[in-house]
C-alpha cells in the first residue's frame, strides 16, 4: 500500500479563467495536508488528479505511471480514491448499497465487514438512504466508499467541513489510523487543527500555486503566515 504521487507543473483553465497555474507537489509515505483560502483551487487540484477535470499542461504520476487523460474511473482503479468536498452521496442508494457499489473489486485490507466494524454507526444505518444521514455519518460513508476501493492514495477534500467539534475529533482519529496503516493521504483542509493533527507537513495553496510547504508545527506557530496565507487569525 501507499504510493508515490507526483504532480508536476499542473495547469487547469476553465475557459478564460486560469485556476491552477503550475502546481508542483509530491506525496510519498507521509500524509500531506493542503491548506488555502476559499477559491484558491484546492478542489480543482483534487479533480484534476482524479481526471474529473481536464488539465491543459503538466503531469500527474502514481509510482511513475502517468494518470492525466485516463479519466476518473481508470484513475480510481489505478489506486487513487477521492472523498469529495460536500461528500457527494448517491441519494438513490442506501448506506449498504454505497458500500456494495465499490466493494469486492479490489483485494485489500478493507471489506464491507471491516467498514461496519470500524464505523458501527453505519451498520446501524445500513438501510438508510445516503441523504438521510447526519453530516458526520455521511462523511464516514464517503470515507468508507473510498477505503473500500483499497486505494494506494486517498484524497480527502475538506472532510471536516460542517461537522461538529466532537465529530471532528473522531474524524482526526480515523484519518490518523488510515495514514498509520500505510495508505497515502492527501488531506485538503481549512481547519488547521485537523491538518496539523493528521500530517507533519503542510502545503499552502495560493491562487492556483503552491506558495510554500512547511512543517505543520511551524505554520501553527506562525500567526502571521496563517493570516497571510489563510486569512485566519486562529485555526477555526
Amino acid at each position: 500500500m501507499g504510493g508515490r504521487l507526483e504532480i508536476d507543473d499542473l495547469h487547469v483553465n476553465f475557459g478564460q479563467a486560469v485556476i491552477l497555474q503550475g502546481v508542483t507537489l509530491s506525496l510519498d509515505r507521509a500524509p500531506l495536508s493542503l491548506v488555502g483560502r476559499n477559491g484558491m483551487g484546492k478542489s480543482t487540484l483534487c479533480h484534476a488528479i482524479m481526471g474529473m477535470v481536464a488539465a491543459q499542461k503538466g503531469s500527474v504520476t502514481l509510482d511513475g505511471r502517468p494518470l492525466l487523460g485516463l479519466g476518473p474511473s481508470r484513475v480510481a482503479r489505478g489506486g487513487i480514491a477521492l472523498v469529495p468536498q460536500g461528500r457527494r452521496m448517491f441519494p438513490s442508494l442506501s448506506v449498504h448499497e454505497h458500500l456494495l457499489l465499490v466493494a469486492g473489486r479490489t483485494k485489500g485490507a478493507w471489506t464491507v465487514e471491516r467498514v461496519y466494524e470500524t464505523f458501527p454507526r453505519l451498520a446501524e444505518r445500513r438501510r438508510n438512504g445516503g441523504n438521510q444521514l447526519s453530516g458526520g455519518e455521511q462523511q464516514m460513508l464517503a470515507i468508507s466508499r473510498a477505503l473500500l476501493m483499497n486505494p494506494r492514495i486517498v484524497i480527502m477534500d475538506e472532510p471536516s467541513e460542517g461537522l461538529a467539534p466532537v465529530i471532528v475529533d473522531h474524524l482526526i482519529e480515523t484519518l490518523r489510523a488510515i495514514a498509520a496503516e500505510g495508505m497515502g493521504v492527501l488531506l485538503v483542509e481549512q481547519n488547521m487543527r485537523v491538518a496539523t493533527s493528521v500530517s507533519d507537513q503542510v502545503a499552502i495553496m495560493v491562487t492556483g500555486q503552491i506558495a510554500a510547504t512547511m512543517p505543520a508545527r511551524d505554520l501553527e506557530a506562525d500567526r502571521d503566515a496563517q493570516r497571510r496565507y489563510l486569512g485566519v487569525s486562529h485555526g477555526h
Binding site: 474529473m52 474511473s73 480514491a81 448517491f90 438513490s92 456494495l100 457499489l101 465499490v102
Partner: protein, 297 residues
C-alpha cells in the same frame, strides 16, 4: 352503459397501457441514466417489429405449424433493437454525452434514416404476427364472458417487465450502478466504475424493451409505417406525465394514458386524441416534474 362495456373498455385501456409501459420504460431508463432524449426510440420499436417479423415470416413460410416461429421472431426483434441501440450509443451518442440538444437532433436524423431504410428493405405494406397457439384466441373472463388471450398476455408481460426492471435496479450490482449514475455520473466514475459501459448496457436494455414492444404491438395490431412517430410521442407523453426516469412513474403514466385513450375513443372518438394531451398539460401545470418525478438532480 353496461358494466360489461365498462370492463371491456378498461381492459382495452390496460392492454394498451401495457404496451405503452413496455416501450416507454425503455425510453425512461435511457433518459434517467444518460439524460438522452432518444428521439429514435420509436424507430427502435419499428426495428423490433420489422426484423422480428422478417424472421418470423421466413420460419412461418417454411412451416406454418411451427409454433416456435413467434418466439424466435420475438427474440430476433428484441436483439435487433438492442444491437441498433448499442450502435447508436457507441457510434453517435456516447461522445456527445451531456449535449442534450445535439443528441436530440442526431436521434431525429437517425429516426428519419431508419424509417427510410426499413421502407427500402421491407416495403410499406402493413403486416402482423400470428400469435402462437398458447396465446391465440379468447380466454374466459368473469362478467364480460371472454377476452383476447394475447391481450391478457400483454398485460402479464408488462407486469413481468415492471417486476424484472424493479429487481434489476434494486437487487443487482448493475442496478446499483445505474441508480448511482442517475444521481451523479462523475462520482460514479470516480468510484472506479466504467460509466460508458454501464451506459451501453442501459441503452441495450432500453432499446431491447422498445423492440419487445415492437413485436408485441405488431402481434396485437397490424403495423405500418408511421408507428415510430406514434410510439415516440406516446413514450414522451407517458414519461412526462409519470416523471422522467422513474419506472413507477412510467407505469402510472402508461396506465393513465392508455386507459384515457380507450375511454376517449369509446365516448367521444373525434376528440379522443386531445384527451391525451389535455392530461399532459394538466399534469405539467400542477406537477411539472411529472407525477412521480423528482425535481432537480
Amino acid at each position: 352503459m353496461s358494466l360489461q362495456f365498462m370492463i371491456t373498455v378498461t381492459l382495452n385501456g390496460l392492454t394498451l397501457a401495457a404496451l405503452y409501459f413496455i416501450v416507454a420504460s425503455g425510453f425512461s431508463l435511457i433518459f434517467g441514466l444518460m439524460r438522452t432524449v432518444n428521439m429514435a426510440h420509436g424507430s427502435l420499436y419499428m426495428i423490433g417489429a420489422y426484423v422480428g417479423f422478417a424472421v418470423f415470416d421466413s420460419l412461418y413460410a417454411s412451416n406454418a405449424t411451427a409454433d416456435y416461429a413467434w418466439y424466435v421472431g420475438l427474440l430476433a426483434g428484441v436483439a435487433a433493437a438492442a444491437v441498433a441501440g448499442v450502435v447508436m450509443q457507441v457510434v453517435f451518442l456516447g461522445w456527445m454525452q451531456g449535449q442534450e440538444l445535439r443528441q436530440a437532433l442526431v436521434t431525429i436524423g437517425l429516426s428519419i434514416i431508419i424509417a427510410d431504410q426499413l421502407l427500402a428493405h421491407f416495403g410499406g405494406n402493413p403486416f402482423q404476427f400470428f400469435a402462437p397457439d398458447a396465446l391465440f384466441g379468447p380466454t374466459p373472463v368473469p362478467v364480460i364472458g371472454r377476452y383476447s388471450t394475447f391481450r391478457l398476455f400483454q398485460i402479464g408481460l408488462a407486469l413481468a417487465v415492471g417486476v424484472g426492471l424493479w429487481l434489476l435496479l434494486n437487487k443487482t450490482r448493475l442496478g446499483i450502478m445505474v441508480r448511482a449514475g442517475v444521481d451523479d455520473r462523475q462520482m460514479l466514475a470516480a468510484c472506479g466504475v466504467n460509466v460508458p459501459l454501464i451506459a451501453v448496457a442501459t441503452f441495450a436494455l432500453g432499446a431491447g424493451l422498445a423492440g419487445l414492444g415492437g413485436v408485441v404491438g405488431a402481434t396485437a395490431q397490424p403495423v405500418a409505417l408511421g408507428v415510430d412517430v406514434k410510439f415516440l410521442l406516446t413514450s414522451l407523453v407517458v414519461v412526462i406525465v409519470g416523471g422522467m426516469g422513474s419506472i413507477g412513474g412510467t407505469a402510472i403514466g402508461a396506465i393513465l394514458i392508455g386507459v384515457a385513450e380507450q375511454w376517449g375513443q369509446a365516448l367521444f372518438p373525434t376528440y379522443s386524441v386531445i384527451l391525451t394531451f389535455a392530461i399532459m398539460v394538466a399534469v405539467l401545470a400542477v406537477r411539472p416534474q411529472g407525477l412521480l418525478g423528482r425535481t432537480g438532480r
